[in-house]
Amino acid sequence: MSESEQQGSERKGNYALEQLKQLRARRGAGTPAQIERSKRGKEMQNLILKAIADEAKTVPEIAAETGLPEQDVFWWITALRKYSRVQDEMKRGDFVPYRKK
């Protein structure tokens, strides 16, 4: 990227951040329910990733360790797996163990 292109890119980047300021002033950064859902989602991600940081575990094992419902654990495992934060291990019985990448 040339110097002038870099400057143009930075100008446009500042423009997007200006737009965000305008939008935040207009409608806030999400509804209280959205913010709460996002916060809860981050907490669940952290709990799950911590549970599988050192050892691969199945969904029921993660749920037992974290106290989260199995269905929620599996949905977050699916989400984290899609974005390469979690990897599958060799199947154990009817369940796949997952490990933090």
Binding site: L23, R24, V96
Partner: protein, 440 residues
């Protein structure tokens, strides 16, 4: 921000870019006709791009659809509008004038390189509609791997305005204040390829669809069977367990006057058999049971496909499912009554259940909007000449393709689209002035 209206002239306006809309557009464009193709979703491909394989050949659905999607996107005679709604079409002086709204993606398409860095940076996880809620996506995401066009869409309703996407974008193409754009099309003919939807999962509350995690829709099972499905295999949404017993409940959304769907949806028997065969391949020790009223295997090779499924060990039980409940481990329990003399109601437990939902029109003329064509008694588009020319609608110059006129399988939808393209071509030759120097 005031946006100027884009004006276009075309031979044919095609509404809907599922497999029928794609085929009709390609057939017309290959004949030298100019086409404007409008799709309401962010990618073309319709329902077919969502499927794993097709019956009865078990060919890869994506391998059939993706080349057509790419051909449409790159065809010199086709102008493609995605994430766009046709607000209305009016006929005047033998021409059709359509008003289209192109919704904002909140990115500048001419600058986006499809690198997905915005998606990686985004911190908001949402249910992925491409995976029918089984998987996740981000608030800014490219709809699916082989989506066309390969541009992300920002879900403005769920964006928390953190700015992570804008910071990550190497071309700075995020535009949070992008507005809808208006497009007006002047066309000589119209093809409606508006497609279908499945009956809602909760249409029959006694089956627990939408309430029980292990009661799935057929499109959810398609995603589980797809090579790049959300779980990387067939597993139960409740706990990630590989199921050892899977049941299909036939006519769970069709042939039921109480749902307003008294007709047979024509594809449910075959897609259930196809999925059962694919499941037999991916889960060889699983028991697969299909509870049915009648098996309707009417197409070429379909009866043999049904017999092959039986030979592979798929169990067909002629029974009516009265209701579904679940135990504390989310195992669905079906209360059934076999249609055999001397049997009474019984309860059968399975690990996973698929409801074979029926097909209803994605756009009903009774909803208004689009164009004032007439609907048939089933809610699909009415064809005044169903046997001789099924592409006709009740407005001269407006043609129907695919499942817009009623439930069809993929083979019939593609054939139908070819017929609609030919009918539109003939109509143009009959009604539109020929440019000077060209023979009609």
């Amino acid at each position: 921000m005031a946006a100027s209206t884009q004006q276009l002239t075309a031979d044919v306006l095609v509404v809907g870019a599922g497999i029928a809309g794609l085929q009709a557009s390609l057939d017309l464009a290959d004949q030298g006709k100019s086409v404007v193709l409008v799709e309401r979703k962010p990618s073309i491909g319709g329902t077919m791009i969502n499927l794993s394989k097709v019956f009865p050949t078990l060919d890869c659905a994506s391998c059939i659809t993706t080349p057509r999607m790419a051909s449409v996107a790159h065809h010199a005679n086709i102008d493609l509008f995605t994430l766009s709604e046709v607000d209305g079409i009016e006929k005047a002086d033998g021409r059709f004038r359509a008003s289209i709204t192109k919704k904002p993606r909140f990115i500048e398409e001419d600058q986006c390189i499809g690198c997905k860095r915005c998606e990686e940076a985004c911190t908001v996880f949402l249910e992925d509609d491409f995976d029918h809620g089984l998987g996740a996506k981000k608030a800014i995401s490219i709809p699916f791997t082989n989506a066309i066009p390969q541009y992300p869409v920002l879900d403005a309703d769920n964006c928390l305005l953190c700015g992570a996407c804008a910071k990550a974008c190497p071309t700075q193409c995020i535009n949070f204040l992008q507005e809808p754009k208006k497009v007006e099309v002047d066309a000589g003919a119209v093809i409606l390829a508006t497609g279908f939807e499945l009956t809602p999962m909760d249409a029959k509350p006694q089956y627990g669809g939408g309430a029980y995690p292990n009661v799935l829709s057929p499109l959810q099972m398609e995603r589980l069977l797809a090579p790049h499905g959300p779980y990387g295999g067939v597993m139960r949404p409740s706990d990630g367990q590989t199921p050892s017993s899977i049941a299909y409940v036939q006519c769970a959304g069709s042939r039921d006057k109480s749902l307003g769907v008294p007709y047979c949806s024509r594809v449910c028997c075959m897609y259930a058999i196809k999925q059962a065969m694919l499941l037999s391949g991916s889960l060889p020790i699983a028991d697969i049971t299909i509870y049915y009223m009648d098996i309707r295997a009417f197409g070429k090779g379909y009866e043999q496909f049904y017999q092959n499924a039986k030979a592979m060990g798929v169990e067909f039980v002629k029974a009516k499912v009265a209701r579904i409940s679940e135990d504390e481990s989310h195992n669905p329990i079906l209360r059934i009554e076999r249609q055999e003399a001397g049997t009474g109601p019984e309860e059968v437990q399975h690990d996973l259940v698929v409801l074979s939902l029926g097909m209803v029109p994605a756009w009903k003329p009774s909803q208004g909007g689009l164009i004032a064509v007439e609907a048939d008694t089933d809610g699909f588009l009415k064809s005044p000449s169903m046997k001789l020319n099924p592409a006709l609608t009740t407005i001269d110059g407006v043609f129907a393709a695919g499942t817009a006129t009623g439930p069809k399988d993929i083979v019939d939808a593609i054939t139908d689209a070819g017929a609609a393209a030919m009918a539109a071509g003939n109509y143009l030759a009959r009604t539109q002035p020929t440019p000077a120097g060209h023979l009609p």
